[in-house]
């Protein structure tokens, strides 16, 4: 199940294509970085929706030319305390200009959702707990921020200087 950045819940239309699978009948497939690197011509020419799953220690610079090939990039939090994907998200958005869907997967918990959205994630792979515990509320816990961020939200410097006569 997916949580959107606006707190809405929806089903996941994407399926993960295994590294050894050729196709799986789905119109929207994600591939691992390893699979993408094998430069599979059929895959690259495919007119299915393509998504990319990245490990949280993946280098990003080399992906720059390919980024607009992907409607979805999935980043990973192997443990919620492993914060490497936050930097990956920031870089993908701010430095490499990625505009597609950026999804958080792995150990995605309620109390990190707002950090994730501010880093540029706009969808979150969650379980049934997200409904039971109303995780959408997490997005509105703060409306004051001390840093600029990828979700275009307000931050105090801009607000203070805006108030300045």
């Amino acid at each position: 199940m997916l949580l959107g950045e606006d707190g809405s819940l929806r089903d996941d239309i994407w399926t993960d294509l295994g590294d050894d699978e050729v196709k799986n009948g789905s119109a929207a497939i994600t591939v691992s970085l390893a699979r993408w690197k094998k430069a599979d011509a059929a895959l690259r020419a495919s007119n299915r929706k393509l998504g990319l799953r990245l490990p949280n220690d993946a280098a990003l610079e080399e992906l720059k030319p390919d980024l607009d090939r992907f409607e979805l990039i999935v980043l990973n939090f192997p443990k919620f305390t492993d914060g490497r994907a936050y930097s990956q998200a920031r870089l993908l958005r701010a430095r490499y200009g990625y505009r597609g869907e950026l999804r958080a997967s792995g150990e995605v918990l309620r109390d990190q959702l707002l950090f994730m959205r501010r880093c540029g994630f706009n969808s979150f792979h969650v379980g049934e707990r997200a409904i039971r515990e109303d995780w959408a509320k997490a997005f509105s816990e703060f409306d004051v921020f001390y840093q600029t961020a990828q979700d275009g939200g307000p931050w105090v410097m801009r607000q203070r200087l805006g108030n300045h006569r």
Binding site: G83, R90, F142
Partner: protein
């Protein structure tokens, strides 16, 4: 001092509400302890030996009387009527109940205080010189920059789950009174040839299992580029710092393994690729934050120096206090006073609620309401007129706050140790108490001397930086103490060297006594211990320590 605007108030209130809900969910069983632990740590709440411990933030060590009175109130109402000032300028309370913490944080928020990020794997308290703003040797007041960095680092979405904690210190004077070189990231405020303000950036300091001093990686970052450069350092750390081994996760390990030059190059490359304008720190914003730190309206009429000299001549106890606890102020007729929280035989750094209230009153009367916390675990009144010093001392002395030992052997830095801390491997406080009792009688002859004691390898007592450092360890269920020599904080920062086998608890006082006696015999002129140690080496001290008695 800095006063919250509407944004700051709103933020801290939202934080309290968020935390209150997190506690509710924990107590209702919706959050496991593993899920909750990082969240409570990000609000400064540890679980220690006897209870929860709350570490309240005192940003860069600056308090006003209202805040100090609130700390006294919280200590009385929710704890056992006393608190412990730490080596990062914060306050710890040892007997806290989880269920009280949302209310405690709400009370703190009402006086513009919090416990945000005093623990956890993110930015910790930004620390600075306790004499900031009033020191005679200062280039520029570092406090506005400390405040700016504090805000920038608060709930930073990219850097809230770093490999490990991240400690930043700022210093802006010739003398480093903030121990900058032992920090993950240190900033020395500098002016370039054009007179523009910027910072020398040092990275990779830290104590603990692998004590290392920070390396200078960039001689000058213009203040406009402060955020973008900090981001570059943190991003390199967040992406490449080790996460496989808790004891190898600090940035110092990354700097050491890459080598400082390569690390600096990585940061530089990351920085050059950044859109620096997007996070530029403009002069007018710095000025706006700095306006909160304008100096008070000092009474610049001449102080009655003659009355002060007479009081010194008439009263040897006051004379001693005036000699050790009073420092020059940049405004004539004024002084910076350090209040010792190291009464001989007591717990170093502890302060009762009543004492806090008294210091708050004294601050209102004599220091424009301002108090500082030094990382040496003492308090500072930064703005006292010299002709009020005698009256101040009398009132401090009556309250057990008149110890005249700043910078002397009984001004011991000491962590809570195994009497309180679940990480500890030995007790530290009783060792400090016995040592202070033993040395106090001759500490004037010994002269300036730093003894620092840690109850475990995590080194919260900064033992690596002590002229004599003492580390308590467990050997087959017995408390034994490892001694290091030659450490120093500040400009001449040095990591102490282990002198030899650990010493039993009962033998520590005698061992330190023999070491100090050896120093007194060997020193030349005004040499402090680190200079003597560098000159003569470890051998004479080893001999003194382990010689048959």
């Amino acid at each position: 001092m800095y006063r919250y605007d509407d944004f700051d108030h709103r933020f801290v209130d939202e934080r309290v509400a968020q935390y209150r809900d997190q506690v509710r969910r924990r107590l209702a069983g919706q959050l496991s302890e593993d899920e909750f632990r990082p969240l409570r740590l990000m609000n400064g709440l540890y679980l220690q030996l006897h209870a929860y411990m709350l570490r309240i933030a005192i940003p860069y060590g600056v308090l006003n009387s209202a805040k100090l009175r609130k700390l006294a109130h919280v200590a009385r109402r929710y704890d056992r009527g006393f608190g412990h000032f730490t080596t990062r300028q914060n306050l710890q309370l040892h007997w806290i109940k989880l269920e009280d913490t949302p209310d405690i944080l709400a009370e703190l928020a009402s006086v513009e205080m919090h416990a945000i990020q005093t623990s956890g794997n993110s930015f910790r308290n930004i620390t600075t010189d306790p004499f900031a703003g009033v020191a005679a040797d200062e280039i520029e007041d570092p406090r506005p920059y400390a405040e700016i960095i504090r805000q920038w680092s608060t709930l930073h979405p990219e850097f809230s789950f770093l490999p490990r904690k991240f400690k930043i210190a700022v210093s802006a004077s010739a003398e480093d009174r903030a121990a900058v070189k032992m920090h993950d990231l240190g900033l020395y405020l500098r002016r370039n040839e054009k007179g523009e303000t910027g910072f020398e950036v040092l990275v990779g300091g830290g104590l603990g299992r692998t004590p290392l001093l920070a390396h200078s990686i960039k001689p000058f970052v213009a203040r406009r580029d402060l955020f973008s450069y900090l981001e570059a350092v943190l991003r390199v750390y967040n992406r490449y710092g080790r996460r496989d081994n808790l004891y190898k996760s600090r940035i110092k390990i990354l700097v050491q393994s890459l080598g400082p030059a390569k690390f600096a190059a990585e940061v530089e490359a990351e920085w050059r690729a950044t859109d620096r304008d997007a996070v530029a720190l403009p002069d007018n914003y710095i000025a706006e934050i700095a306006s909160g730190f304008e100096l008070p309206d000092y009474d610049r009429s001449p102080a009655d120096e003659q009355a002060l000299e007479q009081a010194i001549a008439d009263n040897p106890a006051f004379a001693r206090w005036a000699k050790h606890n009073v420092t020059a102020h940049k405004v004539p007729g004024h002084a910076v006073v350090t209040i010792s929280l190291k009464p001989v035989g007591e717990t170093p750094g502890d302060c009762s609620a009543d004492q806090m209230d008294l210091v708050a009153d004294l601050a209102d009367e004599l220091s424009f309401g301002e108090i500082r916390v030094a990382y040496e675990q003492n308090l500072v009144l930064p703005n006292v007129r010299r002709d009020r010093l005698f009256g101040l001392w009398q009132r401090l002395d009556a309250a057990g706050l008149g110890s005249s030992n700043i910078g002397l052997a009984s001004d011991i830095i000491c962590c809570p140790g195994m009497d309180y801390c679940s990480l500890a491997t030995a007790r530290s406080i009783p060792v400090a108490q016995r040592l202070a009792r033993h040395l106090a009688g001759r500490e004037d002859e010994i002269g300036r001397f730093s003894i620092k004691i840690s109850g475990c390898i995590n080194a919260c007592g900064h033992h690596h930086l002590g002229n004599i450092g003492i580390l308590g360890v467990d050997k087959n269920g017995e408390e034994v103490y490892q001694i290091t020599l030659g450490g120093d904080a500040g400009n001449g920062a040095a990591i102490g060297q282990i002198i030899g086998p650990a010493v039993k608890s009962d033998d520590v006082t005698g061992a330190i006594d023999r070491l100090i006696a050896a120093y007194e015999k060997l020193r030349q002129g005004e040499e402090r211990f680190p200079e003597t140690y560098r000159r003569v080496g470890a051998a004479p001290f080893k001999e003194a320590l382990y010689a048959a008695r």
